[in-house]
Symmetry: none
Subunit: 254 residues, 2 copies
DNA sequence: AGAAACAATACCAAAAAAATACCATTAACC
DNA sequence: GGTTAATGGTATTTTTTTGGTATTGTTTCT
């Protein structure tokens, strides 16, 4: 753990650097550590006591420096938890190079996420669902509706439907849907995503905390088993003002 | 049975490994055991009580670590039975093997297309263009603005900019931009696309024949040469009510 | 000398981490 | 089929870690 402290503080800077208030020198040092990438957004700052010990200064002095950076919006404190580097931009990007779960993806960007269940249960399929999933009329479908929240901002509404033969007990899905399917041996090998723009309407707008009419990103995904059967259909509606979908492409010859 | 516990836990790691929460160290240790093959998919994890006893920590701490791995889809619990290693999750290996042009894309959907030039010429670069394309201030950029029309309906506004060293005579571009670049030996090998939703404003709305405020799809693309140089930057604005972006993904193990 | 800023000490409060004790489900066994 | 032991599940409490604050001493500038 001490490597991080050493990397951030480089204590010779604090002592050698001429005259002037200690806390200002510390503030500058911390600022540099953030902007140089030694601390990424979402990272926790070492505890104030550790910083004080390592730099041989009092904790209050450390606090004074941290206070400044909090006031300027570079850091956020959480009582009992720690002090964290704030994210620089409000836009979120998702890369296509790996299909990661929502939670994983947000975590990599230093955002804490939670979900709120909107629906979770077994239902009689709608005609659309029967057609997309290839089900007989007397089958059942599991519907999973979640409101995805990143750093206390509602970011997306996600609605999935899966044939009950692949997911007989929707209540057992707590985290990743793919994980729940994988444990039952239903591993999709192919997926098709359709991305479109969309004016968000009520009641979705209310859930996402935007006014109706704002542009959103609708991402529909159909996953297939090796056999060609459709496993799941998911429709996600993202706030357009807070989410970008980023894809990196490798171009081949011809 | 104890050999397995010893192999998984290597308890010196837990005690010796510096500071930090116990459950995080345990989580990492278990993750390693799975990925190193000490535990194969389908195998049962030792019972939580055994793990706790052997590592001399409480069972709840063990559960906290296991909880994390379950949430991430590496493990599955079965009440009354045990906790098991799940099959590797699916990830996207490569998104799109090739970048299709607008014309190709539409042809595949059975639409005939034409284009109307909005801009075509050499200009002094804006600050944004200088930054994105990596140009000096005295360079020139070629700007190509087209209104894309499919089956007589305006569908997209496409604005591209390319350093003049790659495209000294924009007027010679009549069809595909990539074809024109290819003729001069500037074949991009990598591209990054950013897709976002957007409320279309004037004057673009008028060009596309929609009322202002309607949702549109903004697709920004930056293409790179093998050398890492940026070749072109294109921003396309599609009518949201008439265009979907479809991507097909192939999922592979691990 | 006095005032203001700076720095150190000591203690408070909230959150997370860890431990304890008990409940519910499964599966094996009789 | 019922019994039982082994397993994961959960509620509650205690301990540790973390930021928060009031008080006091110290320097510095006027």
């Amino acid at each position: 753990m001490t490597e991080l402290l050493a990397a951030i503080l480089s204590p010779e800077r604090l002592q050698a650097g001429g005259s002037g208030p200690l806390y200002l020198k510390l503030r500058q040092t911390l600022e540099e550590a953030i902007q140089s990438g030694k601390l990424n957004h979402g990272d926790a700052l070492p505890p104030e006591r550790d910083l004080a010990d390592y730099a041989n200064i009092s904790r209050v002095t450390v606090r004074k420096a941290v206070d400044d950076l909090v006031k300027d919006g570079l850091l956020v404190r959480r009582h009992g938890s720690g002090t964290f580097v704030v994210k620089p931009v409000s836009k979120v990007e998702q890369s296509l190079s790996r299909l990661t779960s929502f939670t994983e993806d947000m975590a990599r960007r230093g955002l804490t996420t939670r979900a709120q269940w909107l629906d979770r249960g077994l239902f009689h399929p709608s005609p659309d669902e029967m057609m997309i999933l290839g089900l007989p009329a007397d089958a059942l479908v599991a519907r999973l509706g979640r409101l995805r929240i990143a750093d206390d901002m509602p970011l997306a509404i996600e609605r999935a439907c899966i044939s009950s033969e692949f997911l007989p007990d929707p209540a057992q899905v707590t985290g990743s849907l793919y994980a729940a399917l994988g444990q039952r041996g239903c591993r999709p090998v192919r997926a098709v995503q359709r991305i479109s723009a969309y004016n968000i309407k009520e009641p979705d707008a209310a859930l996402l905390g935007v006014t109706a009419g704002v542009a959103g990103l609708s991402i529909e995904r159909v996953s297939y088993l090796a056999s060609g059967r459709v496993v799941e259909f998911t429709r996600s509606l993202y706030r357009g003002d807070a989410y970008d979908f980023v894809a990196e492409l490798t171009l081949s010859d011809t």
